[in-house]
């Protein structure tokens, strides 16, 4: 159930009659979903149930077999919906270049968002995640956990309205997990929309909507 937060906002993501498939196997059929401003949605389900495919469809990457995705009542592929500018999609792969430094990687994405983050902003968020000494290092020099933290910095540095996060909690230490939960709740409170997948339950994270994905009935039929 989605419980409305105190701050009303017009942002909402609506999915109507969505059908998606992978390798011609239907994953979701004629599904309606709704994600409101200020809400955090937890998508869960077994491996292969189509969580990642749904996330990629919501991010506009996976073409839909049928149905549509509406961002503030406008189709997400329509330029007027501003969907791509409002969306931050974090996937399994971290989308960081090994040849560039942490600061260069993060600044590039913020420039694409229209505003280059300053070094102060970078050091502030890096300090919160204990990677402030690594800003000038190449991405390839970091450990896997540190690399993950770098990707999470984007959540703070880029001003968007919708987070689509695929397994953001995986391989995080307890401290970073709490940090991420706090950021997600803060973002929702400001009127953002959060959709994430996770295998485990996250302690201390207030979730407004849970969606369970299971293998479609197709197999049984």
């Amino acid at each position: 159930m989605s419980s409305k937060q105190s701050e009303p906002s017009s942002y909402n993501l609506e999915v109507k009659g969505l059908t998606i498939s992978r390798n011609e196997q239907p994953l979701l059929e004629d599904t309606d979903l709704s994600f409101n401003a200020g809400s955090i949605t937890h998508l869960f389900g077994e491996n292969g149930a189509g969580k990642t495919s749904l996330m990629r469809a919501l991010a506009g990457l996976l073409p839909l077999d049928s149905g549509q995705i509406l961002w503030n009542q406008i189709k997400n592929t329509h330029p007027e919906s501003n969907f791509n500018q409002d969306l931050l999609f974090l996937a399994h792969n971290l989308a960081m270049k090994h040849e560039l430094s942490i600061a260069e990687n993060l600044q590039f994405y913020s420039i694409l968002r229209g505003r280059k983050s300053s070094l102060e902003e970078l050091s502030k968020v890096a300090a919160e995640l204990q990677i402030e000494n690594l800003l000038e290092r190449h991405f390839s020099d970091l450990s896997a956990g540190q690399q993950h933290k770098v990707a999470l910095c984007r959540l703070v540095l880029e001003t968007v309205k919708l987070w689509v996060l695929d397994e953001p909690f995986v391989n995080l230490d307890a401290k970073t997990r709490d940090w991420l939960s706090a950021k997600m709740m803060h973002f929702a409170k400001e009127g953002g929309v959060v959709i994430f997948t996770s295998h485990q339950a996250i302690e201390g994270l207030k979730i407004h909507q849970r969606i369970s994905l299971s293998h479609s009935e197709e197999e049984a039929a």
Binding site: S21, R22, N23, E24, P63, A221
Partner: protein, 259 residues
């Protein structure tokens, strides 16, 4: 006018349904086979016995009756593939992509036959089995385009991606074919010394059997496309209930067949 567009719309819709096509096409095939065999019987008789011998080339001119139809169809097939690619991309019609995939090996085979018969023809007329003649060179490039398409389509594990990627390649190739042909022709005239003009105006007595043979090959081509398309449908819709019933798989259909 309105009724025409309505009929056209219905046709479009039905052709887009694998089930409709699969069930209907099986009824078309016998008629197509009959007309195909009749055309070939008549065409082969006309072209191999009843038509005159070329005063320069002798009997070897008869290779033309296979060479020219395959050359025509090798290009028609590519064009059809590109049209299917556009329809598939614009209207997201799965059947169109299936047809595109079904056309590729047939087109490649016709191209290969065209090149092979061209070589055979070349030995008595040019004294060599390969000449860098504009038309033959273009056919060779066309064969490369077909092979590139097939290679690309078969190297994806995800069929949807394969269809979309291969469709883009088919369209790019179709836009390029006239440019390639034009440039090869230009290049060929530059090296005039090596090229041999194949034929001048064609004798009407040769024209008629040639047209019959082209028609015969056209029908054969349509039959082959239908057969391959049916295979493609069976391959892709293997899990669909209607198809399992159609081929007599599954308990329900068995029971139905017995009753």
């Amino acid at each position: 006018m309105a009724s025409f567009s309505k009929t056209a719309g219905r046709w479009f819709h039905q052709l887009g349904s694998p089930k409709w096509f699969y069930q209907k096409s099986v009824k078309w095939l016998p008629w197509l086979w009959i007309s195909c065999l009749a055309l070939f019987a008549f065409g082969l008789y006309y072209s191999l016995w009843a038509s005159p011998v070329d005063y320069q080339q002798g009997n070897s001119v008869r290779i033309m009756y296979i060479h020219v139809p395959t050359a025509v169809l090798s290009m028609v097939a590519y064009l059809a593939m590109a049209v299917c690619a556009v329809i598939g991309m614009v209207w997201k019609m799965k059947m169109s992509f299936m047809a595109m995939r079904a056309l590729a090996p047939i087109g490649a085979a016709f191209t290969l036959i065209c090149l092979f018969t061209g070589s055979l023809w070349g030995i008595p007329t040019w004294g060599t089995w390969w000449e860098w003649d504009a038309r033959m060179t273009s056919e060779l490039v066309l064969l490369f385009l077909y092979l590139g398409f097939i290679a690309l389509h078969s190297s994806f594990s995800d069929r949807t991606k394969a269809d979309n990627a291969a469709a883009i390649l088919a369209i790019v190739g179709a836009i390029n074919i006239p440019i390639i042909y034009g440039s090869v022709k230009w290049w060929n005239t530059l090296h005039q010394a090596y090229s041999v003009t194949k034929k001048g105006a064609i004798d009407p007595q040769m024209q008629t059997p040639l047209f019959i043979m082209i028609a015969a090959f056209y029908v054969l081509f349509i039959i082959l496309v239908i057969i391959r398309l049916r295979l493609e449908i069976m391959n892709r819709e293997a899990k669909a209930k209607w198809l399992q019933q159609e081929v007599g798989l599954g308990q329900e259909s068995n029971a139905g067949a017995n009753g």
